[in-house]
């Protein structure tokens, strides 16, 4: 935490006024310009936001909104309320990724992993964290060559089973990207229609019978999953 002595009482009051929304538009704009260049001051604003939110936490009584509100939100975000493939699939039920894979952590992993040289120009990467079991993967997609390189960091397929990689874009049904080798690295060539879906997609690995899912959709447990991030 930033040392409070870094900042004058005047600035502290200004940070609080900004957090409270008390400043005039001009003053507010001046403060915002400063936030970008003055980390100590920014820390004060964040600290005030947290303190004041604590006040709401302590003193604002919960009031249950009418159920129509949730329906309106769902309609605005997801269109007509119907059971989408997404919500029907038990595929996602067990998915609980407990933290975001930060770009920094991914960058660090990339430096440690024996990647082909030279590095792709604008790689898209996904760190697939364990969901069921301990399997873990790092996937790097090079849009220039349409090659997806999947490195197994931990966990192998169960005896008599295979691991299948899926891409999930938005609310769409998962698209199979192929089966993973038992070796440490699998390189898959992605066709153009799937390649376009990589930004903002989620990659997931499922447990499947030999030869892969017979249905074209995941049938077994989700072993690992993670969002695609561009570095």
């Amino acid at each position: 935490m930033t040392d409070p002595s870094d900042i004058s009482p005047d600035d502290n009051a200004l940070a609080a006024e900004y957090a409270l929304g008390l400043l005039s538009p001009d003053e507010g704009a001046a403060v915002e310009a400063r936030l970008g260049t003055d980390p100590a001051f920014l820390a004060q604003v964040l600290s005030w936001q947290a303190e004041f939110a604590g006040l709401a936490e302590a003193e604002v009584a919960p009031v249950t909104p009418r159920s129509a509100v949730k329906a309106r939100i769902d309609a605005a975000l997801f269109g007509t309320p119907k059971g989408s493939i997404w919500s029907r699939l038990s595929f996602w039920r067990g998915l609980a990724i407990t933290g975001f894979a930060s770009s920094a952590a991914l960058a660090a992993l990339l430096l440690l992993a024996p990647l082909p040289q030279p590095l792709p120009q604008v790689p898209l990467v996904a760190q697939l964290e364990p969901v069921t079991g301990g399997a873990q993967f790092l996937a790097v997609f090079d849009p220039d060559t349409s090659e997806l390189r999947v490195q197994r960091s931990a966990g192998t397929a169960a005896t008599g089973r295979v691991q299948q990689l899926w891409l999930i874009a938005g609310e769409d049904q998962p698209v199979s990207l192929g089966l993973l080798d038992d070796s440490a690295v699998t390189v898959l060539t992605i066709d153009a229609s799937a390649a376009d879906l990589f930004p903002d997609a989620v990659l997931a690995v499922s447990d499947e019978p030999p030869g892969g899912s017979p249905t074209g959709a995941p049938t077994g447990d989700v072993l690992a999953a993670g969002p695609v991030i561009s570095l």
Partner: protein, 180 residues
């Protein structure tokens, strides 16, 4: 109310477009956030509109949550409160999201800054108790009800500049107490 880690995990799943997690987050937090909106707006129908905007923002910006280093409830309450203020002052410029105006990574609060709001809640209430009653009421009015300096000056029947001077002094005193 689920604990901080549960909400954090729900936000992570929402970031992966998990609607079930979104429904769970709504179930767990909407009453609190609706309370925050209602306290500012004092009108159920307006507060419902704003609550809708708040959850749409949460769905669309879940990836921004960690950037602020805030606890999950701080992040959610701050969105609800600022969205309500913007509605209250519909004529004025919207409140910027802090992560959009500053490179927050460089100023992120340490782990102690992310501590659950429960501690913060107790602390700020205790520190407000150390202020004069009317001054504490002014701080509460500004945050919880979104009162402007003009509103506060009228409420406490003092000139605008006087209002600002003594609210700023109260904030400095408050900060001293909070930093102890």
């Amino acid at each position: 109310m689920p604990d901080q880690h549960q909400i954090e995990s729900l936000l992570a799943r929402i970031n992966l477009r998990d609607r079930t997690a979104f429904a769970e987050l709504y179930a767990a937090t909407s009453a609190k956030l609706f309370g925050v909106c209602l306290r500012v707006l004092k009108d159920r129908s307006l507060a419902e509109d704003v609550l809708q905007e708040v959850y749409i923002k949460i769905w669309n910006k879940a990836d921004r949550y960690q950037v602020t280093g805030h606890s999950p409830m701080t992040w959610l309450i701050t969105i609800a409160r600022n969205q309500s203020i913007d509605r209250l002052r519909a004529a004025g410029p919207p409140t910027s999201d802090i992560d959009e105006v500053a490179p927050i990574a460089s100023a992120r609060l340490g782990p102690e800054g992310q501590a659950i709001a429960a501690d913060e809640a107790r602390r700020i209430v205790g520190c407000l108790d150390e202020l004069d009653e009317t001054r504490a009421a002014a701080v509460r009015g500004a945050y919880l009800e979104g009162q402007s300096y003009a509103d506060l000056a009228q409420r406490f029947d003092v000139p605008l500049n006087t209002m600002r001077t003594w609210l700023r002094r109260s904030l400095v005193n408050l900060k001293e107490c909070l930093s102890r």
